[in-house]
Symmetry: C2
Subunit: 362 residues, 2 copies
């Protein structure tokens, strides 16, 4: 059986270092907002090439905190791709803003820059781009629009730790970025975790306070804040794993290249990238017409898959107000996509076996 | 130096068990929503004597989730004591509800039941009681009011794990309860953590979904949810520590009894309890007229203290809309309280030394 993602194996590679780091936290008796957070956020900011990083509780919180810090709310609109994990959209709803869904293009699955301008109104405050499946959004057009209309650019970088656009890492491409360190992510904690990066110091300080009960120092509350922090244990684990992220991403690229070279099945549409270093292959998503049968076939042949995602946000019960909305590109993607196993711990043999089985599908 | 709270020492007692439990999570490769959560929430529900418990990210989230699950929002009012950690109040604001502050009584520091009824309007939806400093609120009057006006009773039990009222534990006294497992709490994790208890199965299921991106099962989103979950690592640690909670609370009671018997200084007003098993002494709060000088004096004599809390919510910048509000009892408490060291790992000698120094204050 080839697992979709063998997290135990992934983390086992660093088990000694991870145990040591957890041990250090236990020995310190300090579990929150301490040295491990300082070290990890310094290292992560440097990695992304941006001035500030802050650990928070999870990826959804990261996005929500950014929007809250900007003060966006009732009556204001945020542009977001219709094709994303629902969390991008939930963050916007959470703040009382209206998510304005825009179709992706079928080549990158990322938001279609050509369709954004027509959705901008005088209530639009920001464009949230999602670097989906591991591929950085081509930002040129987005920046131009943001400039033209005075909008903030917020990156949802949950799926693309380490990906580049024009030589810059995601997390440094917008005004602020939210990351998820959910265990299954390219950089994953051993529990829920998230992060925010930004070059904007005032925004950074405001987010830090909002995420800490709205306080800038102990018992001094300047905002109606929340609690969203990164445990020292998880910060320590993430600092360990960050050292290996580029290596891990390189291995993902190898496997993706291997798949893209050797999967030759007219029924299976392969993913594409506009630049090799733009993509960190968080998931390897193909499109097939009869997805359910294909998935069952793979399962039968010992290959676990996942679907990112089966149902778009506008077809979820959580958003019945969008029941009439038609998003044909998004809907088609959600009907046809299926994610093949990919991970830094997959062997060449396993990848070869996936190719063989996929090529055998009729 | 006698620390205010020696968390390293507290947790070191179970270090072997905690390391083993963390090891088990590492070995399993499963870090969220797994067996450790199941086990801990079962054990915690049983401990509280209530049907359901759910681990969430922290105590503030726990309260917010309860209010969200009830659907309380804009234009609705929640009654809450003015004398509390600001998180109780932030949870209410977070949902768009109006917190209606009620003064505490000076005997228990808990909400004054006599002052609640006059604050009930046709927009009131719930009474949030806070079992402050470790002492369960006397619920009789609260229940009667809730009955009379059809209000929900929500417990903020962040400071009172294990305390009893009329033979029932906090967490089982209202319609739903929020707990914090912040490291410094009587039951504390090694990071942020929280929990919810309720006998109401429908509410429980709804909260579980809301806290999991609004989904009742994978990729099926029925609410505009958030991400608020308890890491498997923290659930495992909490299950270990829960076994010793009653013992720990018993030791806290001993120290409190010792303080109450031996501190005899007319300048130092001791705390009171209406029933021994009602109080778990999360903090040992005394009132002194010249607090700042008293705190400096203790510090000079090697005794760390803390203040719960220096500034009430209605005097914080986060709530400038309350700048004109006058809450004399609450304000007086905030001016005079100071918390002496108390913890399950304090020795008799240390407690004796605190008594001696406190009695020497003029
Ligand atoms: C664009 C975007 N924005 C915001 C967010 C929100 O970030 P968050 O709040 O941090 O979740 C996401 C999150 N995104 C992900 C989302 O993509 C989805 O990811 P998924 O691939 O379906 O995840 P999964 O199936 O639970 O896990 C992947 C594999 O890993 C295995 N596993 C998992 C766990 C937890 C384990 O302990 N052990 C395992 O072996 C099981 C699976 O085979 O669902 C998650 C809950 C979200 O965090 C996003 O993609
Ligand atoms: C009624 C009520 N409702 C909701 C809540 C919200 O719950 P939460 O979201 O889980 O915080 C609270 C939280 N309540 C507490 C609040 O009472 C206050 O508690 P505190 O006693 O001031 O806490 P502290 O000074 O940070 O820690 C206590 C001692 O422990 C030491 N320490 C601390 C840490 C974190 C450590 O790692 N190592 C240490 O040695 C330092 C201190 O000497 O501030 C916390 C941040 C809140 O979680 C509440 O009281």
């Amino acid at each position: 059986m080839i697992k979709f993602l063998d997290l135990h194996k992934i983390n086992h590679r660093y088990e000694a270092e991870i145990r040591e780091r957890i041990g250090a936290v236990l020995d310190s008796g300090w579990y929150l907002q301490g040295k491990q957070n300082e070290r990890f956020s310094r290292a992560f900011a440097d990695y992304c090439g941006v001035a500030h990083a802050l650990g928070v509780a999870n990826g959804l919180d990261a996005l929500t905190l950014i929007l809250k810090a900007y003060g966006f709310g009732e009556g204001e609109e945020i542009i977001v791709p219709a094709n994303t994990y629902i969390a991008s959209i939930l963050a916007i709803s959470q703040c009382g803003c209206m998510p304005v869904l825009v179709e992706p293009d079928l080549e990158t699955y990322n938001i279609d820059p050509d369709l954004i301008e027509q959705r901008i109104t005088d209530r639009t405050r920001a464009i949230m781009v999602v670097h989906l499946y591991g591929q950085a959004v081509r930002m040129e057009r987005i920046w131009a629009l943001a400039d033209k209309y005075g909008l903030k650019v917020i990156e949802d970088a949950a799926q693309a730790h380490g990906a580049f656009y024009q030589g810059r890492r995601v997390g440094s491409l917008g005004d602020a970025a939210g990351f998820s360190f959910y265990p299954g992510k390219n950089l994953g904690a051993l529990g829920d975790a998230g992060g925010i990066t930004t070059a904007d110091e005032a925004l950074f300080e405001k987010i830090k306070a909002i995420a800490n009960y709205g306080s800038d120092y102990k018992y001094h509350h300047i905002y109606k804040g929340v609690n969203s922090r990164l445990d020292e244990i998880q910060a320590g684990i993430l600092e360990v794993k960050l050292q290996y992220l580029d290596e891990d991403n390189a291995r993902r690229r190898q496997i993706a290249a291997f798949y893209r070279e050797h999967i030759v099945n007219p029924q299976v549409l392969l993913p594409w990238t506009y630049a090799e270093d733009a993509h960190v292959w968080h998931v390897f998503v193909v499109r097939v017409p009869r997805r359910q049968a294909f998935q069952a076939y793979l399962e039968e042949h010992g290959i676990q898959t996942n679907i990112h995602y089966p149902t778009p946000a506008h077809r979820q019960l959580a958003y019945t107000e969008w029941a009439e909305l038609s998003m044909p590109v998004t809907e088609r993607i959600h009907e046809e996509v299926i994610s093949l196993p990919i991970s830094p711990v997959m062997s060449d043999d396993e990848a070869g076996r996936v190719v063989e089985i996929v090529n055998g599908w009729r």
